[in-house]
């Protein structure tokens, strides 16, 4: 896996807009046939990066490689892009404009029509071919936008908030289509604030904050990296007995009485205490039933990483002002 050329690579991308640095030396690698979560708060620079990949704008410096080769105009037909700000021609029949958009991606008209018909059937909107967007609900329009993004079978799919505007049923439909596309060979870059779906379908992530990449890696590695020495221990016995069994080296995060003589406690080990030593300490006070490590959710990781960033930044600025003073 590591030896394989990534399907997509961004190297030290810098982009400035009239004095404001939108991307500061950002590098990411997306392995082939994976789903890559591009995360970050609003205004972090995700859209700037996505627009550079789509050759809507050019970077000030840095390089984009597709399958090892520098990005060029011909790659357009291999990329599918679903922007966050998306729309359709209101007065044009949806079948016609889907064909038009597919043709712009380089598909021959006839083939575009055939493939689109299949997709329209799959999404159960084949009877809408001759309707205009004015007559559609928002969810319907979203379906058509999704179809026009994938119909030309792009190698690389860039989806910016693909689930917004969908009800849970259609969200699932789109999710399973995304997974299917990956299994068929496509690589997907997914930009979203929906951390639940990141956890569910992403293989790798990168987190961008304030124009810089602050975190990246496999979803599991990132989670391990962010997990603390936090455990949920379920036991028979009283909370008081548990709490008094051992002094120092840990703190109680949460405890819950589950029944008579049956409780669970969430604890955090501090000062380098080993789990083994902690368990030794309590094993005589209560009867341990289960011990589980607490794995942070992507949501938590996102918030913690972004907050860490901003506090460390504040420290830096504080130091600076101190020096000045």
């Amino acid at each position: 896996m590591t030896n394989e050329t990534p399907i997509f690579e961004a190297k030290n991308i810098v982009k400035e807009y009239s004095g404001h640095r939108a991307l500061d030396n950002v590098s990411i690698k997306v392995p082939k046939q994976s789903i890559f979560g591009l995360l970050g708060p609003n205004g972090a620079g995700k859209t700037s990066l996505i627009r550079i990949i789509n050759q809507i704008t050019a970077p000030d410096s840095g390089e984009i490689l597709i399958d090892g080769k520098p990005l060029q105009r011909g790659h357009v037909s291999q990329i599918g892009y679903l922007p966050e700000e998306r729309g359709l021609y209101k007065k044009m029949k949806i079948g016609e404009q889907a064909v038009y958009l597919a043709q712009l991606k380089g598909m021959p008209k006839k083939q575009a029509k055939q493939e689109l018909m299949l997709w329209f059937k799959k999404f159960e909107i084949d009877t809408w071919w001759n309707k205009t967007v004015d007559e559609l609900s928002k969810g319907m329009a979203q379906k058509i936008q999704f179809i026009t993004t994938v119909v030309h079978r792009p190698q690389l799919l860039i989806l910016d908030e693909p689930f917004s505007g969908f009800d849970p049923i259609n969200t699932n439909l789109v999710k399973s289509e995304i997974l299917k596309l990956r299994d068929e060979g496509a690589t997907i870059i997914l930009s979203t604030h929906n951390m639940g779906s990141v956890e569910e379908i992403c293989d790798n992530i990168a987190l961008i904050n304030n124009s810089k990449k602050i975190l990246d890696g496999k979803v599991n590695d990132v989670k391990q990296q962010f997990s603390e020495e936090k455990y949920i221990i379920e036991f028979k016995g009283t909370g008081v007995a548990f709490a008094n069994a051992i002094w120092g080296g840990w703190e109680m995060v949460n405890n819950e009485q589950l029944g008579e003589n049956h409780a669970s406690a969430t604890i955090k080990l501090t000062g380098g205490t080993k789990l083994n030593d902690f368990l030794k300490g309590i094993i005589n006070a209560v009867e341990i039933q289960s011990v589980n490590k607490v794995i942070p959710s992507m949501n938590e990781i996102f918030i913690r990483a972004v907050e860490n960033e901003s506090t460390s930044k504040e420290e830096v600025t504080n130091e600076n002002t101190n020096q000045d003073g």
Partner: protein, 448 residues
């Protein structure tokens, strides 16, 4: 077909298929021809007879005022009216009289004397002119008598010279004014088309920007291709509409003049409407018909022999396309810089100002085709599409270099404006939710 071809095709077909396009294309010529026919028809309608009360303080004029079929003059003495106030009151109460004409005593003394015309329903300028002519004629006859000149001698004194203008190089006889008029009509059409279709370009850009499809499209094609595709597609819509208009108008006028109004389009009849003005001095009422025939012949000569149609139509298409590309690209930039149509005002004004200025200069050129303003404006690319055709319509001798220069300037300028527009467009279309300032737009020009 390249991607830009796809865009041109979409822009063209969606517009041509619209009901409003069909309606405009068919109704346009019908309305135009209808107005023309209506105007001629109305002009030929008999004006109603007028009964005019004349109070003559000179006591010598009223006897010599000429009566005519439509103008019935009655001396105020017949109604027992002695002064101007009585006359005014009488007119107000009278149902018979339409006009009260007051000729003060001094009207015969000077060369620029003033009388008064009181009315209930405002008379047309024709009526006013006709009555002035009648009074003038009376005063002239009065003076002839004083000077002891016979009417015959006077008729011999009166002369009317016409100067026929002949180009010394081509030895052609031309009617410069009328030819400039034909050129002006061409210029006017270019002006209208640039306006109509320029606005369509702007609206099209705003539509794509506001419904957010633009980001999907620019991920497939370059923003510049999208902009040019739109401009060129709409240009073809304009040309299509123009060609249909010309053909329909020609067909309509030909059928109408052959069937419904066989004599309406006849130059003799057209000339008759001007006959009223020709009455002038009543002493020698010349048969006007020969003159009308003369005008008709001149008109035919103008249409068939003097206007260089091939060149005019060729240049029309060139200047239409050139002017449209120049203004259309600027309009596209405006569309990209704003967020909704209500924000466009500030940017449209500086664009339409030179266009309107060009129109005014072209109108001026009819009277004074060789003025400095016309010469300059037929070179400046922002006005040349409208003004140059007026110059060309008056003859091309010695103009070749000016035409070539004007065309080259226009080409260079529209390449320039297209470049500028492309830069503004490419950044502007992705700026949602705010209107750009001139300063920002200038900065966009330098973006990578």
């Amino acid at each position: 077909m390249g991607k830009i071809g796809l865009i041109i095709k979409r822009e063209y077909t969606t517009r041509v298929k619209k009901k409003s396009f069909l309606l405009m294309t068919i109704l346009g010529p019908i309305l135009m021809v209808g107005f023309l026919v209506g105007a001629i028809w109305l002009g030929q309608q008999e004006e109603k007879d007028l009964k005019i009360l004349v109070l003559d303080d000179t006591y010598v004029l009223s006897n010599t005022l000429l009566q005519s079929e439509k103008y019935h003059l009655t001396s105020s003495q017949d109604e027992g009216i002695e002064n101007i106030d009585a006359g005014k009151t009488f007119l107000k109460e009278s149902e018979q009289y339409d006009i009260f004409l007051y000729l003060p005593g001094n009207i015969v003394s000077g060369n620029a004397s003033v009388g008064k015309l009181f009315y209930k329903d405002a008379p047309s300028s024709n009526v006013q002119r006709h009555l002035e002519n009648i009074v003038d004629g009376s005063i002239e006859r009065l003076r002839l008598k004083e000077l002891n000149i016979s009417n015959e001698d006077y008729a011999r004194l009166k002369n009317k010279v016409q100067l026929h203008t002949i180009d010394v190089i081509s030895n052609e006889e031309k009617n410069v004014g009328m030819r400039a008029g034909v050129g002006f009509i061409f210029g006017l059409m270019i002006y209208l088309f640039i306006f109509m279709y320029g606005i369509q370009v702007m609206k099209g850009v705003i539509e794509e920007k506001s419904n957010r499809i633009v980001e999907v499209i620019v991920s497939s094609v370059k923003p510049f291709e999208l902009m040019m595709g739109k401009i060129i597609g709409i240009m073809f819509v304009g040309l299509t509409q123009f060609i249909i208009w010309v053909m329909l108008s020609l067909a309509l006028t030909t059928t109408l003049s052959l069937t419904v109004f066989p004599d309406l389009m006849n130059p003799e009849n057209v000339a008759q409407t001007t006959q009223v003005e020709q009455v002038a001095v009543g002493v020698t009422v010349e048969p006007v018909n020969s003159e009308a025939k003369e005008v008709g012949k001149e008109f035919q000569d103008l249409i068939f022999n003097q206007i260089p149609w091939g060149l005019m139509i060729g240049l029309f298409i060139f200047y239409f396309i050139g002017g449209y590309l120049l203004y259309g690209s600027l309009m596209a930039a405006v569309g990209a810089a704003v967020d909704s149509e209500t924000d466009t005002q500030q940017f449209i004004l500086p664009i339409t100002a030179p266009l309107i200025f060009g129109y005014i200069v072209a109108a001026m050129a009819i009277d004074n085709p060789n003025s400095v303003a016309v010469e300059w404006c037929s070179q400046i690319p922002f006005t040349s599409p409208i003004v140059m055709l007026v110059r060309v319509s008056m003859g091309t001798e010695g103009l070749s270099w000016a035409i070539v220069l004007s065309m080259s300037l226009l080409i260079a300028t529209f390449i320039g404006t297209t470049w500028v527009a492309g830069r503004v467009y490419r950044t502007g279309i992705l700026m949602y939710g705010k209107k750009a300032s001139y300063k920002e737009m200038f900065r966009w020009l330098r973006h990578k």
